[in-house]
């Protein structure tokens, strides 16, 4: 299938063009076109994965584009599994959307199709330029889709926020690319395409480690923007203004993981960059924790899931950061969680979409007792919640466990247990917030003001079931049932076939000590215990209502206030972004008024003033003219007399 690899992103692009221009005239607003296109991509992706799986080979195709830039695809194990996940989840969600977005305009299908193309482009790009281009393309689609209901001011505003906040990350990423280029031309002048990943990997050892730290931290900044890492996470909760399917596809399963994928893609550079991985680990752990605390108090079901997404993305970063001790395996662990998260978070979002579809509200305080009316949605969402909480059998258990184990190894290996502890505590919070949401939605008495909710049609429930199935078995299947930690190892070996990516050499450069750390098995049970405790707490509070949650959740409680105001982040962010920027803008406006316009005004007015004054000399009286001549002549004679 590899000869068709180019088609993977191209098919959705055709889908986009066809839907955009013909969709209006086609039945179902042409929603089947993207589905077919993405199905094609999925088939090719899976075919490629099966082809390269046994040998672990790397597909690389490249053509000249312009200047120093080539256009090319790079499919290694990392990209292959990511391709399959992206195209598959995208396909499922597109199918779900046929029903969910019925009658909302063909623009939606076109834009999601374009988004999928962009995301696939991010995955298979073989150079930073193409990567960045696709990266921005998905950002654009995210912007468009968040603002899909642009008549709503909140949607328009959320779209703006999403674009600008991720733009901050993009600019950091760009700076990283520039520095990479600068180092490549300096230390690898013969390289034809200095932005190609393979070229960069080949020359990592030529680049000074501190430069690499700078580059990777800037990359991390870009990743933080896209993947909602603190403090650039603020856009992601607001992004829930978009249709729920968009939240599921873009703001849970695929685009937000692009940042994680970026770190994974350039992992050799991180490994060779001193301190970078430590920063990654801390950033991930801290983000996981802080987002989980905020998720505790949200009443909008989608916002709960949004904070959960941020938190889980933090986990993935934590996994990558633990590569400081466990090496390339970290990539595999992060990708495992990335993919399982894609399944269960897409599932959770689609379930919430199904609920919202039925109840026409987002507020979980107005729901309750829905399980009896929406059995499929309720149980599939339960599976998703269990997976998120990390209960055994589900995919989340295996992937999250692996991360915490890696974090523990990192802690033991480097002597710094703080990231692990933060991650561990987050497990408890995760279980609480997701089951709080589930209990409030599905059990107890219905608090709906009006209307009788019904289960959603089959086009929506079938995807739920498929995703629920994946959430149940995926990680377990690939890891344990087929023997050993097969996925992690397979993806972890992704850089083996590329030149210049020997982990030993790189970690030496980065000053990391890769080692095998023996972990007490008894410690590995801890996350499970915490998860169960968390579910119990949520059950007691929100199912049994003992004690009544209202007694804790009150505006007078300072902790609640802290969380519900999101740590006062809005005033702070507002101050930094709006006040300072607008302050400078108004200052420049003043400078423009006073100095630029003012100087012109003064010059012209001075000219006129002088003109008016001088013309007064022209009195019209001939005697004065004679006087002027006489005086002028006299003065000239006297003046020159003095001068000569």
């Amino acid at each position: 299938m590899q000869e068709y690899a180019v088609l993977v992103p191209l098919l959705p692009i055709f889908g986009f063009i066809l839907t955009l221009f013909l969709g209006r005239k086609l039945p179902g607003q042409g929603s089947f076109i993207p589905v077919l296109a993405i199905a094609g991509s999925t088939i090719i992706s899976v075919g490629i994965l099966l082809e390269i799986y046994p040998s672990g080979e790397v597909i690389h195709q490249s053509w000249h584009w312009f200047s120093l830039i080539n256009i090319g695809i790079l499919i290694d194990p990392l990209a292959a599994v990511m391709l399959c996940m992206v195209s598959f989840v995208s396909l499922i969600i597109h199918i779900y959307s046929i029903e969910y977005m019925k009658g909302q305009g063909e623009r939606y299908y076109a834009e999601t199709s374009l988004f999928t193309a962009g995301m696939l482009g991010v995955v298979i790009a073989d150079n930073l330029f193409l990567f960045f281009l696709s990266w921005e393309l998905v950002g654009l689609c995210s912007y468009l889709l968040i603002g899909y209901w642009y008549r709503k001011p909140s949607a328009a505003s959320a779209a703006k926020k999403a674009f600008l906040v991720t733009r901050v990350g993009d600019v950091l990423f760009l700076a990283g690319i520039f520095i990479t280029y600068a180092n490549m031309v300096k230390f690898a002048p013969d390289s034809q395409y200095p932005l190609s990943f393979l070229e960069i990997f080949r020359h990592i050892t030529d680049i000074p480690p501190l430069q690499l730290t700078l580059i990777t931290l800037l990359f991390l900044g870009g990743a933080a923007g896209k993947s909602g890492q603190f403090p650039l996470h603020i856009w992601l909760p607001d992004a829930m203004e978009g249709p729920t399917t968009v939240s599921a596809l873009i703001h849970a399963a695929t685009m937000v993981t692009a940042g994680v994928y970026l770190v994974a893609r350039t992992f050799p550079m991180f490994l060779a960059a001193p301190h970078s991985l430590v920063v990654v680990a801390y950033l991930g752990a801290f983000t996981a924790l802080i987002a989980a605390t905020m998720g505790l108090v949200m009443n909008d079901i989608k916002r709960v899931l949004a904070y959960s997404t941020i938190s889980q993305l933090g986990y993935m970063m934590l996994a990558l950061g633990s590569g400081a001790v466990i090496g390339m395996a970290a990539v595999g662990i992060a990708m495992l969680h990335l993919i399982s998260h894609a399944f269960f978070k897409a599932l959770l979002f689609l379930c919430s979409g199904s609920v919202i579809h039925a109840t026409h509200t987002n507020d979980i305080r107005l729901m309750g007792g829905l399980l009896s009316k929406m059995k499929i949605t309720g149980y599939t969402m339960l599976i998703g919640s269990l997976a998120l909480a990390g209960i055994p059998i589900t995919t989340g258990y295996y992937s999250k466990d692996a991360i915490l184990e890696a974090a523990l190894e990192y802690g033991l290996g480097s002597g710094d247990l703080l990231p692990y502890l933060m991650g561990l505590f987050t497990v408890l919070l995760t279980a609480i917030y997701i089951f709080r949401a589930w209990f409030m939605t599905f059990v107890g008495k219905s608090r709906l003001p009006k209307g009788e909710p019904h289960e959603s049609p089959w086009l929506m429930t079938v995807p739920l079931i498929i995703l629920a199935f994946c959430s149940l078995v995926f990680a377990g299947a690939v890891n344990s049932w087929f023997g050993g930690e097969i996925f992690v190892e397979y993806v972890g070996r992704t850089f083996e076939r590329m030149a210049g990516t020997d982990p030993e050499v790189l970690s030496l450069m980065g000053g990391y000590h890769l080692m095998e750390v023996h972990v007490e098995h008894s410690l590995l049970i801890l996350p499970l215990v915490l998860a169960v405790v968390g579910i119990l707490i949520a059950g007691m509070l929100y199912w049994a209502k003992k004690p009544d949650p209202e007694s804790v959740v009150s505006p007078t409680n300072p902790i609640y206030r802290l969380l519900i105001t999101k740590y006062y982040e809005l005033p702070i962010i507002d101050f930094i972004s709006m006040r300072i920027t607008m302050g400078v803008a108004i200052l420049t406006k003043l400078v423009e008024r006073i100095f630029i316009d003012g100087s012109i005004w003064i010059i012209t007015q001075a000219g006129f003033l002088f003109g008016e004054i001088l013309r007064m000399a022209q009195s019209g009286i001939v005697r004065h003219y004679a006087t002027a001549i006489a005086l002028g002549t006299g003065l000239l004679i006297l003046g020159l007399w003095g001068w000569l």
Binding site: Q618, A628, T633, L636, W643
Partner: protein, 489 residues
């Protein structure tokens, strides 16, 4: 002493002779047939112009070396005759039916003869006599519309200041004569001077006397009043032609004859030139009368031309002198077209206003009257716009090439500061020129004007042709100017 001898020796005088002949003929014929006078004068000027051009590269002296005929003099004669021609064409309409037409054309031709003799003068006496001939005739011309109090006032001021300047000039000449004992330029130019108060006084007095004609500050004050008050055709003649008489006299007397006093006049002209251009431009900014604005603009232009004096006195490198003087000559030629054309275009508008009895008062050249002219009188408006842009030095017009030459000569001569001042002035001047264009092109018309007067249009178009030709295809004309300027080497 047969005819052949006269012709071969005095043949160079033919243009002047023809013109004088025509002038007296007009005076006589004018007693009876008035309608042909303008055409007669036109023919006379054309014949004379033809004769001058035929004899362009002549080199002769006459009357004991008191008159010289060389390319320089012929060049100026061409300029004078061209201006006279334009004036005559426009006057055919302006003075149509006037009972005093005979006197008018007579004076016009005689004034031209005077100017032409100035161009040929090679002696203090001949210069003074020719200068007075040219001046006195124009005093009368300025006051020619004797029913119009403004015209009389213009003539009066012109006369008074002119007479004063003649006296000053004569005093300066007398001092010069006292110092050197000779009146001949050729002799003067070979003289070596001792630096003394007398030479200084003589020099400044001569510059003051000629500065009146050139309208250099502070000897300029008559000019705005006279140009504004005089009949517009006469203003055209004064600004485009008579002013050049001052320049040619100054070139001959100061650059050719008093070259030894170079260092003395360097400072005089540096000061005068800078003050003149700045003053002219600044005051022109706020004018409402178009003729008055053109007058101030004319003063500023004189300042630019006077840069040539500064450059020539600052250096004696041949190529610099050649470029500066060539530039000045080219400027004079193009200024004749631009300024003459501009005055005639303004005159055409004034004529239309008075003819259609839209304005019976005398403010016919107020800028408001030009509002929307592009719609009511397109040819005049377009031409005036071109003249104004040319005066501002916009490319593809004569004004650009003129400024190109004269400003570059300043830099060539190492006077970058002068060029900077001149260029800033040039930018300043754009302001008031552009304002007029603005009024003509995008203000609403106030009056309905019916038909542009043919004679004016012909004159204006001829000037336009000259302005554009010198701008688009300047090569040969520049070559001629540079060739003529070799006289100064």
């Amino acid at each position: 002493m047969n005819v052949d001898w006269i012709l071969s020796n005095y043949g160079v005088l033919l243009p002047e002779a023809v013109l004088t002949l025509f002038a007296f003929a007009i005076l006589l014929i004018g007693l009876k047939y008035r309608s042909v006078l303008g055409y007669l004068a036109f023919v006379g000027a054309v014949v004379s112009l033809g004769l001058v051009i035929m004899n362009f590269s002549v080199n002769a002296t006459l009357l004991y070396n008191s008159l010289v005929f060389d390319p320089l003099s012929q060049f100026f004669k061409v300029v004078f005759l061209l201006v006279t021609l334009l004036t005559i064409i426009a006057s055919i309409r302006y003075y149509h039916g006037n009972v005093h037409q005979g006197e008018y054309y007579f004076l016009l031709l005689i004034a031209t003869v005077g100017m032409m003799f100035v161009a040929s003068a090679n002696d203090l006496v001949s210069l003074f006599v020719a200068f007075e001939l040219g001046s006195i005739a124009t005093y009368v011309l300025a006051a020619f519309d004797k029913d119009n109090p403004r015209s009389i006032e213009a003539g009066f001021k012109y006369f008074m200041i002119g007479a004063l300047s003649s006296a000053i000039l004569l005093l300066g000449m007398s001092l010069l004569y006292g110092i050197t004992g000779t009146t001949n330029f050729t002799a003067l130019s070979q003289m070596s001077f001792e630096m003394s108060g007398y030479t200084l006084a003589a020099l400044v007095l001569i510059i003051a006397g000629l500065g009146f004609k050139m309208a250099l500050v502070p000897f300029h004050m008559w000019a705005p009043d006279t140009y504004q008050g005089a009949p517009t055709v006469v203003s055209a003649m004064l600004a485009a032609g008579s002013k050049k008489m001052g320049f040619v006299a100054a070139f001959k007397l100061i650059i050719l004859a008093l070259i030894a006093l170079r260092t003395e006049w360097y400072m005089v002209f540096a000061i005068i030139s800078v003050i003149t251009m700045t003053y002219g431009n600044l005051v022109a900014l706020t004018q409402r009368s178009l003729k008055r604005m053109l007058a101030y603009s004319s003063i500023a232009q004189a300042g630019y031309i006077a840069m040539a004096f500064v450059v020539v006195s600052h250096t004696n490198v041949d190529s610099v002198v050649n470029l500066a003087m060539g530039g000045a000559l080219f400027y004079i030629l193009s200024h004749a077209f631009m300024k003459g054309g501009a005055f005639l275009a303004v005159g055409a508008v004034g004529y239309m206003l008075l003819r259609d009895r839209i304005k019976v008062d005398v403010e016919e050249d107020d800028i408001d009257n030009f509002a929307g002219l592009s719609k009511t009188a397109p040819i005049t408006a377009f031409s005036l716009a071109v003249f104004l842009f040319a005066l501002a030095g916009i490319p593809l017009t004569a004004g650009f090439v003129s400024k190109l030459l004269i400003f570059s000569s300043a830099i060539y001569g190492g006077l970058a500061w002068l060029a900077v001042i001149a260029i800033l002035n040039s930018a300043l001047s754009l302001f008031y020129y552009a304002r007029v264009v603005k009024v003509m092109y995008w203000d609403k018309p106030k009056f309905v004007l019916k038909g542009e007067p043919t004679a004016y249009v012909v004159a204006v178009l001829l000037a336009l042709l000259g302005t554009v030709l010198l701008g688009v295809y300047p090569g040969p004309f520049v070559d001629v100017a540079m060739k003529v300027a070799e006289v100064f080497l």
